[in-house]
Every structure is written in structure tokens, then in C-alpha cells.
Amino acid sequence: MNEGELDTGKAVRCLAEAAGSVFAEMAFMDAERADRMSDDGKSVEGMPAPLPADGDELSGDDVVRVALDVLKPLSCRLELDCSARLAAAISDILYGVADAELPDGENTPPAIADRKSDDSLLEMLNVLAGGFLSAYFGPGTPFKLELPFFVFGEPDVIGQTIARVDLNVEGLPAALTLSSIRYRY
């Protein structure tokens, strides 16, 4: 994607909108913007949902990163970063573990044999990407997406960040980043 072709403010708004609706509809979680950036990308103070000062951070080994490359209508990468605690919470909710009724005296939910916790975050990013693209480009635009994947270590692409939204998902941090793609061969 040529970042010059994209309206950063609109991209930020659409990312935040997609995050809010997908977290709510898929995982029944409130996802509010936690960054201190205005829609035009300039730094401002006092966004409404700051994360707890002593909460999880989006850095270090405890961060789960998933990404998805968009091929049409423009090439770009969408990445969702979140704390391991949030990734586990999403999986628990999707698989109904959070609501499972526990037998008396048990404090931990039962293991679910076919639970695919890793897959939950990939599917959430897939739906987020669809929501973002629909919101940004509007209905009728043909989209082509690659399959979502986990990002480990150094990314295989070097691109510029076009838009980023930091999120407060019920006290846990997450971030959505839209970037240009320049593959490293």
C-alpha cells in the first residue's frame, strides 16, 4: 500500500470502529481506544480509556502477535498485538470456558479436548480485517486477503506504519497496526 493513498485519520477511525464492534460481537468485550493520538495522527492528551498503570504491557515475551496481509484493493498488513492474558481471555470466552459451570469446590474450568486457543486470535483478526476494509473502502469493493498467521521474532516485512490504534480491552492492552508491506527476501 502506498501510504500516500490512504487517509490516516479515516484509517484510525475505521480500525477503532472495527475493533469495537468485533470485540463486542465475537467476544462480548468492550474495546476502547487507549492511545493518545487524535484521528489525524497528532499526539493529544486525555483519551478516555487509559490502561491501568500497573496492568499488562504490550512489550516483551508476553505479547501475542498475529498478522494478515491484504492483497486487494491495496497491499498492506494488519497486525493485532495483545497480552497473553487477553489472548487467553478471548479464547476462554469464545469456547465458553468463562461461562462454564464448575462443580462445587473447583476453581478452574475443565479442559476442553478440542479447544484451539491459538486459532481464536487468528479468526478474530480475520474478522477485524473484513470489518476494517468494509468500513474504509465501503461495500462493493473486492477484497483479497491472505490467511492470518502468528508473528514470531523479527517480522519478514519491512514497512511503514500507516495507522495504529492502541486499545483498552476491559483493562487489558491490545493494538491494531496497519502498515505498508515491503518483503524481505
Binding site: 460481537e25 484451539k116 479468526e123 474478522v127 473484513g130 490467511l147
Partner: protein, 126 residues
């Protein structure tokens, strides 16, 4: 009220297959059971072994054989051409929906799914 014999859910995400099945159950869709496949190619194999399948719900973006190719193949094969086919995808709207309906897809649902979306898509069949 229509009762389906078997419903086949085709999606490369195990989480998505689980969500689709749960939404169908919550929407009150009656069937004698659900079958699953991870892509169109695998779905073709499942269909060959399970002629009692009478409803298929498929994603679009999948490896090996994607949902469009699967729909085209299904609707172009006489023994399966009358099967009811629904698409559930994060990227299906607008022109994509028109193209899929022209292939014979009876409903196109945008993820995230909900029981209400399923119920609306199956309408009088519930």
C-alpha cells in the same frame, strides 16, 4: 418446519467452525448432526461419503480450495447442484455477494456471525 439431515461446515478456522455450529444451534436449526471440513477440497471428500448432507455453510478465504472455487464446483456438479449453500465470510459483501448469488449461493453472511443472522438467512426453513 424443515429439519436438515446433515449440515456441513467448511472453514479453515476451528474456532469459526465452532462459532458457526453454535450459532446454528442457538438459532434453532434442526439437524441430525454436523460435519466439518477445513477447505473446499476436504469438503468434496466429505460430501462424497455423506450423501445425506443437505445444507453446506462455507467460508471464502481458505487454503487448497477456497470458497468461490468450492461453490463453483458444487453448483456445477449435477449430484450436488441443488444442495443449499450458504457463505459465511469476513469479506463477503456488495459485488462479492452478487457474484456468489449468481453461482447459486442462497445466502451470504458477513462475519461476525450471530444466531439472528443465521435465522434470517434460513428464513422459512426454520
Amino acid at each position: 418446519m424443515k429439519e436438515y439431515r446433515k449440515i456441513l461446515i467448511v472453514d479453515d478456522s476451528a474456532t469459526s467452525r465452532m462459532i458457526i455450529q453454535r450459532c446454528m444451534e442457538m438459532a434453532g436449526v434442526h439437524s441430525t448432526g454436523f460435519l466439518q471440513a477445513e477447505n473446499g477440497l476436504e469438503a468434496m471428500a466429505v460430501l462424497k461419503d455423506a450423501p445425506e448432507i443437505d445444507l453446506v455453510v462455507t467460508d471464502l478465504n481458505m487454503p487448497k480450495m477456497d470458497g468461490r472455487a468450492f461453490a463453483r464446483h458444487l453448483k456445477g456438479t449435477p449430484r450436488w447442484s441443488t444442495l443449499q449453500l450458504i457463505v459465511a465470510s469476513s469479506i463477503a459483501d456488495g459485488d462479492a455477494e452478487a457474484e456468489l448469488r449468481a453461482l447459486g449461493v442462497s445466502a451470504v453472511l458477513k462475519k461476525p456471525l450471530s444466531p439472528a443472522k443465521i435465522a434470517e438467512a434460513l428464513g422459512g426453513d426454520l
